[in-house]
């Protein structure tokens, strides 16, 4: 599904990613952990196509295509979804409008007929139940005035509506209380399937109590320093990130 080879990227003139290698197969859930400043968010940004990040070397192949050659919106329509660490407020653009436009852009791209208003609403209301969201949130502007938890639920709502092939969740657990974390995790878990892959980018092990990864990678100084199974996350929880050479970010357990 996704093959990252020797990926290097910089923000401004600062090299952040210094040679990432990662293979993600359909059906797998990979957790990428690491201290602050290790390059986790830059990796999500490169995959989603954020323009302030410059790829300086290496390649990313997604379903046989050169992902880096695709425009941001083309990646989305090909089934790549980024759940933002800080979901953006867009006053004046309706949440329901964005959901419908996003879903239909994807359907059109795949040669499917656009959903009409009735079918669309039925679908979305169903997914909102899953996310334990109030329907009134549909008719508000995108994320405007949403609490931190509501924004994260809204991200996952978009994800369960769009049913991506590759979901990248950037620090989705940050700012969530335990109840919201359960709801969000439930939404994410509902999407797990043999055709779908996920990358969880997270500082803390907490999220992995609710979404069990198949593989855990530790990112530090722009490289994957270690890879392993779920047990690696527990090891990090016990020992912190100090061993990867970053004493100031040694804490792993959520405060």
């Amino acid at each position: 599904m996704l093959s990252i080879k020797n990926l290097q990227a910089s923000v401004g003139d600062k090299a952040i990613l210094k040679g990432i290698n990662l293979e993600v197969k359909a059906g797998e859930v990979h957790a990428i952990m690491g201290p602050n400043g290790s390059g986790k968010s830059t990796l999500s940004n490169v995959l989603a196509g954020r323009e302030n990040t410059t790829v300086t070397g290496g390649s990313v192949t997604y379903q046989g295509k050169d992902l880096l050659a695709l425009a941001v919106e083309e990646r989305a329509r090909e089934g790549v979804f980024l759940a933002f660490q800080y979901p953006v407020e867009i006053p004046g653009v309706g949440n329901v409008y964005l959901l419908k436009a996003a879903l239909n852009a994807q359907r059109k791209h795949r040669g499917l007929p656009e959903l009409d208003a009735m079918d669309f609403l039925a679908l979305v209301k169903d997914k909102m139940k899953l996310m334990e969201m109030n329907e009134s949130m549909l008719y508000r502007a995108v994320n405007e005035g949403f609490s931190g938890g509501e924004k994260k639920r809204n991200e996952i709502l978009q994800m369960v509506v769009l049913e991506p092939s590759l979901a990248i969740l950037d620090e989705t657990d940050s700012g969530l209380d335990i109840d919201a974390l359960k709801v969000v995790s439930h939404g994410v878990n509902s999407l797990r399937s043999p055709e779908r892959a996920m990358i969880l980018v997270t500082h803390y092990q907490r999220l992995l109590d609710y979404i069990k990864p198949d593989f855990v990678h530790v990112l530090s100084d722009g490289r994957i320093q270690r890879s392993g199974g779920p047990e690696l996350a527990l090891e990090l929880e016990r020992e912190g990130y100090a061993w990867v050479g970053d004493a100031k970010n040694a804490g792993v357990v959520a405060p």
Partner: protein, 430 residues
């Protein structure tokens, strides 16, 4: 004398000759005032960024008939504008296109062409503050052919909006109209003003509006300029508010070669409230200019002003927002803001808040921003599969929509939202 002025002079002389002495002398007085003020040039502070060189060169015809039926009436343009409506084409009232049968008893319409001498004098007096705002106001007084006088009786609340439609149809024409709107105590009216054009030739529309609100009267005026690309639009609006009255003015300048709106609202008795919100959108070579003044002459009044601009290509805009709080206008609450979205390196906006506060116990704020589209919002929409162009359009619409959202009348709000291409729906439709 430039070609434009030469035509104005010809029209003035033709009308002055045709009329009896009273109006003749009024026209003469206004013409003399116009000449004394002089043709506005960029050497004048009020016209510093608004060059009228394009208008000067035009030789526009002025029809001095108050209600000549225009051939090829613009049915397509009028479609969808419901009754009650008043239609003016090239400055001439069109009874056949208008629909005024449904007006309630408490709303009275009179036309200048039907007024007797005494009424005309009164009308002229009441129009004077609006005509005094600019040289074009004086020109209006010298040249206007038809005026409309709307009175809303005390306690009369008209739920259905009244539509005033001004169409530039023929091209190479100028039109000078006058509107006087008097709302008596505790009355309520929404007036929706449509400025339309179906000609791709130059045209000039120069209307003057005077509003007087009696105590507790409520009036909403929603004006949208959607004229042709070569059209010139000058307009003056003067509002006079008595105790506890509420005036809400919404002005949207969406097209045209050049638009200049002078708006002055005076709060002359306590507890009067005004809302003045507007939006301008300019593309290549176009200019929109809003010169607004809010005068707090009395204590305990509030004003809420916000203008937003979207500038593309080599488009230009001017916003000059003056707020004056008189010495005894204590407990004034006044807000003003002007936000601009510059979408090209060539676009230009000149924005100037001008606060003159003489009272000492007041709450006044103002703020101005000039910026570009939010990259983070743009990126977010694209990560959801929205095409780059559409994402940009959505964000521009979202920026301007805030102005439309404040319109109190639900149908008018929905209509203006559609004109701006809004996507936030209230009632659950997708």
């Amino acid at each position: 004398m430039n070609p434009f002025l030469a035509q104005c002079r010809a029209s003035f002389e033709a009308q002055a000759t045709q009329e009896g002495t009273v109006e003749g002398s009024q026209r003469q007085a206004e013409w003399t005032r116009f000449e004394a003020l002089g043709w506005p040039t960029t050497r004048l502070e009020d016209w510093k960024y608004t060059a009228l060189s394009g208008l000067e060169k035009l030789s526009l015809h002025h029809s001095i008939e108050p209600r000549e039926a225009v051939k090829g009436a613009p049915r397509a343009l009028l479609e969808g504008i419901p009754a009650p409506r008043l239609v003016f084409v090239d400055g001439m009232f069109q009874p056949d296109q208008s629909m005024i049968e449904g007006l309630p008893k408490g709303v009275h319409l009179r036309f200048w062409s039907e007024l007797d001498a005494r009424e005309r004098e009164r009308f002229t007096q009441k129009m004077a503050p609006a005509r005094a705002l600019t040289a074009f106001g004086a020109l209006n007084g010298a040249l206007f052919t038809e005026g409309i006088w709307i009175t809303v009786d005390a306690g009369c609340a008209l739920e259905t909006p009244l539509h005033l439609v001004k169409v530039s149809l023929t091209g190479q024409r100028m039109s000078h109209g006058a509107l006087l709107l008097e709302s008596e105590e505790n009355s309520e009216l929404t007036l929706r003003e449509h400025c339309l054009g179906s000609t791709d030739q130059p045209a000039h529309s120069n209307w003057v509006t005077a509003i007087e609100l009696a105590p507790q009267a409520r009036l909403t005026l929603v004006k949208v300029q959607q004229e042709g690309l070569l059209s010139y639009h000058t307009a003056a609006l003067h509002g006079l508010q008595r105790a506890g009255s509420q005036l809400q003015v919404f002005a949207f300048a969406l097209s045209g070669a050049l638009g200049r709106n002078d708006i002055t609202l005076r709060l002359i008795e306590p507890h009067a409230e005004c809302v003045l919100k507007g939006m301008y959108r300019v593309a290549d070579r176009a200019l929109q200019d809003f010169h607004t003044t809010i005068e707090h002459d009395s204590p305990h009044c509030t004003s809420d002003e916000c203008f937003k601009g979207v500038l593309e290509g080599s488009g230009k805009a001017v916003f000059n927002g003056r707020v004056r709080v008189a010495l005894d206008a204590q407990k004034t609450s006044s807000r003003q803001s002007n936000h601009n979205l510059l979408l090209s390196d060539k676009a230009e906006v000149n924005t100037k808040p001008q606060l003159e506060i003489f009272a000492d116990d007041v709450k006044c704020s103002h703020g101005t921003t000039v910026g570009q589209l939010d990259e983070e919002q743009w990126f977010y929409l694209r990560t959801r599969g929205i095409a780059a162009d559409l994402a940009r359009t959505l964000l521009i619409q979202a920026f301007t929509l805030e102005i439309a959202e404040a319109i109190p009348h639900v149908d008018v709000r929905a209509e203006v939202r559609r004109l701006l291409g809004g996507t936030v729906e209230e009632n659950g439709h997708v």
